[in-house]
């Protein structure tokens, strides 16, 4: 792999002053090269747009002393990673609110044994007003699942069925109890700091897209509304909007305006769009630093192709009854989340790089009524989440696709007192909690890391969100320290220079 002489970085990761996009027209090459480009551009300009352009060949002066910013072109063309990648796509099932690990994935016999007595250690509370130090053993039973024997709660029977396929990390740690603080840590790299790109934007920046027909980064939100922190959950931060997530509508039709009026379908619309794009490009050439203009041009190109590709990708009626049933589409409790999990699979199947599912608000934030609220959200998500892994595996896709399940924090081993056992819940806990991964190079059937005997703090093989990012990037073939983005004269990386390590122990 070549290195760039001035930076010493792999050359493909240094932004090149070369026009990339298939429709981008070289400004500086010779007229004959331009013609050749126009004829052979992978999307193929129609004769009309071509004649329009060629007629103006002379009129269009190449700007002298092209400003430096113009050379910072961004595109989504596929790029070579640093290493042989093990993962090509990822689906993140984000569980907003902080799933209660000691009730779900991290059995704590000591906690049950001392349930009701006072905890002797320090507790980091968020809501000190109704905090107690009373240990609260889980009311649910755990048992061993699969050949690997991983212990999981009876609230997640479907996860149990795929125990041999998942890599369960019980030692996640953000160090911060707040939701937003930790969410931003996971997505943006620094606790609590907004305005940074989601790590998926980094993946797009480093790897490009492997589909020309669909947005490379898609977000499936909940019909109940946006998650906590809203649209900043899929922001490209200081990167151009080309790298931001595209949100699908939470209900049918998931994308509006996919069809042109019938008489325009086909050739007429294509001609129309080509002309539009030619005009847009000429306009953009006058504003070399306006990323928005470029982004809108790219989005027209994508939109044109999405018209057919998205229709097809979102049409889950093509799936067999058996598949639909696997995801729980036949049951009220699981239909909605199951549909989104199934759509996520169809999207990555068609080359989408990153899909993230969100829940409305924070259904896992069980400060109160743990006894009823927790089973309800488990019921809604357990079967579809497990089905996704099963389905990908059946199709031979799990080798290339990472499935991530987890929230930004976990919950405390002590009671959050709400005035009665049936009303009680648990407060936030960013000191130790669980996430699980499957596919894409993660070692299946293992448990990694551990919290203390009560489940408050991660004490063994601690994994931070920065480790999470570095590890994922490695599976995608990227060295997180080498994937650099220049922003306002500063070199930025996904972890913002915070300590991180690739957790190689959990690689298959």
């Amino acid at each position: 792999m070549g290195k760039d002489e001035t930076t010493g970085r792999p050359s493909h990761l240094v932004p090149q002053p070369v026009p990339h996009s298939a429709l981008r027209i070289p400004q500086s090459s010779s007229a004959s090269a331009r013609r050749e480009f126009l004829r052979t551009g992978s999307l193929g300009l129609g004769t009309l747009a071509l004649s329009w352009l060629l007629a103006q060949e002379e009129a269009q002066a190449v700007p002298k002393n092209a400003p430096k910013a113009e050379q910072m072109r961004f595109d989504l063309l596929p790029k070579q990673p640093h290493f042989e990648p093990r993962a090509k796509a990822m689906i993140s099932l984000f569980q907003h609110g902080g799933p209660s690990h000691m009730d779900l994935t991290d059995p704590k016999p000591e906690l049950s044994k001392f349930s009701g007595t006072d905890y002797s250690g320090d507790v980091q509370y968020s809501f000190a007003n109704n905090a107690s130090k009373k240990l609260f053993g889980t009311p649910w039973k755990f048992r061993n699942y699969g050949q690997c024997g991983t212990e999981l709660s009876e609230l997640l029977p479907h996860l149990g069925e795929i125990a041999d396929d998942i890599c369960l990390v019980r030692s996640m740690h953000t160090g911060a109890n707040g939701h937003e603080v930790s969410i931003r840590f996971f997505h943006g790299g620094i606790p609590g700091v907004l305005g940074r790109p989601h790590y998926a934007s980094w993946l797009l920046y480093g790897l490009g897209s492997s589909t020309e027909n669909l947005p490379a980064y898609m977000v499936l939100t909940d019909p109940g509304g946006h998650p906590v922190d809203g649209a900043s959950n899929w922001s490209s931060g200081f990167m151009p909007p080309l790298f931001q997530g595209t949100v699908l509508r939470p209900k049918e039709p998931r994308i509006l305006n996919l069809d042109p009026p019938p008489y325009l379908q086909g050739e007429p619309q294509r001609q129309n769009l080509e002309l539009l794009q030619v005009l847009n490009r000429r306009h953009a050439a006058k504003f070399p630093d306006e990323a928005d203009l470029e982004a809108r041009i790219a989005s027209y190109e994508l939109a044109a192709r999405m018209q057919t590709a998205a229709q097809e990708a979102l049409n889950i009626s093509q799936e067999t009854q058996a598949t639909q049933k696997l995801y729980g589409l036949d049951q009220d409790a699981t239909r909605e989340y199951g549909t989104r999990c199934l759509i996520a699979r169809r999207l990555v199947e068609r080359g989408v790089r990153f899909v993230q599912l969100f829940l409305a608000g924070q259904p896992w934030d069980n400060h109160s009524n743990l006894g009823t609220a927790l089973p309800a959200i488990c019921k809604r998500t357990d079967q579809p989440s497990a089905a996704l892994v099963t389905d990908l595996k059946q199709r031979g896709m799990l080798d290339d696709v990472v499935v991530h399940w987890g929230g930004e924090i976990g919950r405390l081993p002590v009671t959050q007192d709400q005035g009665g056992p049936e009303k009680n819940g648990r407060d936030h806990n960013g000191q130790g909690f669980s996430n699980w991964f499957a596919g894409g190079g993660f070692k299946p059937g293992i448990v990694y890391g551990a919290t203390d005997e009560f489940g408050h703090r991660a004490v063994e093989n601690v994994v931070t969100p920065n480790d999470y990012q570095a590890t994922l990037f490695r599976l995608f073939g990227l060295d997180w320290q080498q994937l650099i983005y220049q922003h306002n004269g500063q070199e930025q990386i996904v972890t913002a220079g915070r300590p991180a390590r690739v957790v190689e122990e959990i690689f298959a």
Binding site: A55, A176, N257, P261, Q271, F287
Partner: protein, 819 residues
């Protein structure tokens, strides 16, 4: 403190600042904007977040009294030098800073002993070091506040820049050779010159006209506007245009919208079933009219907070019989203004159970919109960053708790109530009596007539007439209704809700003004206090109200305020890029009698605003976002502008102002959480008149980044996503506009060249170049061939081809952006 001590302190501070700037330049070739606008913000961040933390958690062992492990953290120099283990702060490699490692318990370091820092403090420390560890000496002599603030407001907090009285600075002298247009330019060019930059030349006339027309009206100029402007060679040509636009009714439809963003205007309530609020439109119209009338901004604010009380005063000394029509109209307008309070967001299944949240929404919105302060935080605890405490919050809370808000209806109660008459009580009573009398009379006559078993055509006609008359009276209301606010009968002070929990009652606190604004008490406990609050917020000694508003006006002309966080003038907000200019503008604002249009004129007639958006790579490297205003930043049209401009140029715009929404009649309301109210009403009026809901956004406005009507929106974040492109390519709305536009030019002229000329002038306010003209002709003919091949009927090929070309005009970036 002795004089010499003071000057030594100043010298130290100065040295420190110089060192800081040098370090920043060396480290990363930071841009001017970063050095300059951000340094102030970073020092403020140090003051509010880091200084208290160091004082409380570190200095005892690492300060003047003790220096454990050789480390002292009471000055920047000692912190950089570090102790036995090495430098505590490493500005070149922030993450290598031992201070961070210690508080994170990394590399065997664990500090401070005892309770570890909480996440907020840890994040603050991280951000601070990453941002270059700005510092202001001396550390120890300053206030010994807690980590995040709380408790009594300190002198230092009162000294925060935005709370200082508005000054009237002298515009800087500038080089004679620079041609400034007005005093704004002096501030701006002096600032640019100080860092070795300069501004761009004046934009061409076409650009200026398009820019000013969109800025003031949200619509493009017409070809006639363009011709008139180009023909006017007088030096005041632009000023003339500005006056014309400011006098146009379309001005209020654009600037009213900016205000509606800030007060999160909506046509529904926002509780679980999103009940419609069919009368809210009267407040919307009031806002538009107020902007058009250039209502003095202080009055504008007072009426929104206490319009009902001002209305009462208006008629207090008159006999209800003698009220003139003008007085009655004024009364109505004052009542309409209180819609500001009623459009507060509602919560839950049974709205009344969550009224405390609605009051918080009122207080929060009022704080952000008028004062640029986030007061809502103080519901649960003393504000962590700004000098606002729980007692301040509940001092205001009592005022709004003593206020009756119109009730919108809810899943639990289905029907609205507390809709108030838009006429004085006595008039309402008189009209009702009169109305009832008429109704009784007609009903009586009808009954009598029905008793007569006469069978003549005259008789049946009479019955029909009487029936119609009765029905009309039944439908008519003797006076209009207002979705607004009135005082409660028994106003009272509020009890603090401990940690914001309504069931945990704390001390009762008197209704009063915020402490930082004077802590004024009410003159008499028998009033709610809204009228007093309205006056406190708009009196000359309050520096925030005028600063915040001129900043908003500036923002909507330049894309960004002088203070970039337009809703937050607190310690976490941005520092102003041009503090002197901000105060100068605020002074002009108050001096002009709070005239918004005066500020528009000042800004639009400046060379600063009239600059071209010409790009300059060297300057852009130093000030990428042009925050120092070395050029005009191009901007994308807002959602409303895109829709309105398409309707306008196609000739399809229904320019009728105002208007109610065709909501279902109230008798039919039965909305629930599972079956909430949702409707989209088609319309060809301007977008400000579209019905906007809280729970489900209007599909077009949501797609193109319209304001979220659930929270005060200071600044719209713009996105660029393929779903927007799909709308522009395929939505019927765009196709219909293109057809109308095509028909418009086809009718206008038989010559293709004329039609092309006209299309470009209508949509882009410019002529087509010769190439564009020949290219268009080529397109039209090729396109018709393509249509013919795809089997389209021969009859409308021409129109379809022109419509297709019109569509490329309406959806191209040149149309969607303002230069």
């Amino acid at each position: 403190m002795s004089v010499s001590g003071m000057s030594a302190r100043w010298r130290a501070a100065e040295r420190c600042c110089v060192a800081l700037v040098i370090v920043m330049v060396l480290v990363s070739e930071r841009t001017i904007a970063a050095q300059d606008a951000e340094t102030a913000g970073r020092v403020a961040f140090f003051e509010s977040r880091v200084r208290p933390l160091l004082l409380e958690r570190c200095i005892k062992c690492h300060g003047p009294k003790k220096s454990e492990a050789g480390l002292r953290l009471d000055s920047l120099a000692t912190a950089l030098k570090g102790g036995d283990s090495g430098p505590a702060i490493d500005r070149l490699k922030p993450e290598a800073s031992l201070l961070l490692k210690a508080v994170r318990h990394e590399d065997g370091l664990e500090m401070p002993p005892g309770k570890t820092l909480d996440a907020v403090d840890m994040a603050a420390l991280t951000k601070w070091i990453h941002d270059g560890a700005a510092w202001r000496e001396p550390l120890v002599a300053a206030s010994n506040g807690p980590a995040v603030r709380g408790g009594p407001i300190t002198k230092e907090e009162r000294n925060f820049w935005s709370l200082q009285p508005v000054t009237d600075p002298q515009p800087p002298e500038v080089d004679d050779r620079i041609s400034v247009r007005n005093d704004i330019d002096r501030f701006v060019i002096a600032r640019l010159r100080a860092v070795g930059l300069t501004w761009r030349p004046r934009a061409d006339k076409r650009t200026l006209l398009r820019r000013v027309t969109f800025d003031l009206t949200g619509l493009p100029p017409t070809p006639a506007d363009l011709d008139a402007f180009v023909a006017d060679e007088s030096p005041d040509a632009l000023a003339t245009v500005v006056d014309r636009l400011l006098a146009s009714k379309t001005y209020g439809e654009r600037w009213g919208r900016h205000w509606l963003d800030v007060v999160r205007y909506s046509d529904t309530a926002g509780e679980t079933a999103d009940y419609p609020t069919p009368l809210a439109y009267r407040y919307r119209n009031w806002v538009i009219d107020a902007f058009n009338a250039d209502m003095p901004y202080d009055e504008f604010i007072r009426e929104q907070i206490a319009g009902d009380l001002l209305a009462k005063q208006l008629v207090a000394d008159s006999d209800s019989q003698d009220l003139s029509d003008e007085t009655l109209r004024q009364y109505q307008r004052l009542m309409e203004a209180t819609g500001f309070i009623a459009v507060s967001r509602r919560f839950g299944f049974d709205v009344e159970n969550y009224h405390h949240l609605t009051i918080q929404d009122t207080i929060d919105t009022l704080g952000q919109s008028v004062l640029g302060l986030t007061l809502g935080c103080a519901r649960c605890h003393d504000h962590k960053y700004d000098p606002v405490n729980v007692a301040d919050y509940y001092g205001w809370y009592g005022i709004f708790e003593s206020t009756r808000y119109s009730f919108p209806g809810s899943e639990q109660k289905k029907r609205p109530y507390d809709l108030f008459p838009d006429v004085p009580e006595a008039v309402a009573a008189a009209r009702k009596t009169d109305h009832d009398r008429q109704l009784a009379e007609v009903t009586n006559q009808l009954e009598e007539a029905l008793k007569l078993k006469e069978e003549s055509s005259d008789h049946s006609q009479r019955i029909a007439e009487l029936t119609a008359k009765r029905d009309a009276l039944n439908r008519a209301t003797p006076y209009g209704q207002i979705y607004g606010a009135l005082d409660r009968d028994a106003p009272a002070d509020a009890f603090i809700q401990i940690r914001g929990e309504v069931s945990k009652r704390g001390d009762q606190v008197p209704r009063r003004n915020l402490e930082i604004l004077g802590a004024d008490a009410l003159p008499d406990s028998g009033v709610s206090g809204r009228l007093q609050l309205a006056k406190w917020l708009t009196r000359p000694s309050n520096p925030l109200t005028p600063r915040v508003m001129v900043n908003r006006i500036w923002q909507h002309h330049f894309g960004r305020g002088i203070v970039g966080t337009e809703n937050d003038f607190g310690t976490r907000g941005d520092a102003p890029t041009h503090p002197q200019l901000l105060d100068w503008l605020a002074s002009r604002f108050v001096e002009s009698g709070w005239s918004v249009k005066t500020i528009h004129r000042l800004i639009l007639n400046s060379a600063t605003w009239q600059q071209s958006n010409e790009f300059d790579a060297a300057t852009a490297e130093r000030d990428p976002g042009a925050r120092l205003l070395w050029r005009m930043n191009p901007r994308r049209l807002s959602a409303e502008e895109i829709r309105d401009a398409m309707l306008f140029v196609s000739g399809d715009l229904d320019a009728t102002m105002g208007g109610e929404h065709p909501f279902p009649p109230v008798e039919q309301w039965g909305y629930t959480q599972h079956n909430p109210f949702y409707a989209v009403y088609p319309s060809k009026r301007r977008s400000i008149y579209l019905m906007q809901q809280r729970l489900k956004r209007h599909p077009f406005l949501a797609l193109f980044d319209g304001a979220d009507p659930n929270v005060s929106t200071a600044h719209r974040e713009l996105t660029t996503v393929p779903t927007q492109s799909l709308f522009l390519m395929n939505n019927e709305f765009v196709h219909e506009r293109a057809v109308s536009l095509a028909l418009r030019v086809l009718k206008e002229s038989a010559s293709d060249a004329e039609r092309i000329r006209s299309l470009f002038r209508i949509t882009l306010s410019r002529l087509a170049s010769a190439e564009e003209e020949s290219g268009t002709l080529a397109f039209l003919s090729e396109y018709q061939s393509a249509l013919r091949e795809s089997g389209a009927a021969e009859t409308d090929l021409e129109q379809k081809a022109w419509a297709a070309f019109a569509r490329t005009l309406l959806t191209r970036n040149e149309f969607l952006f303002v230069d």
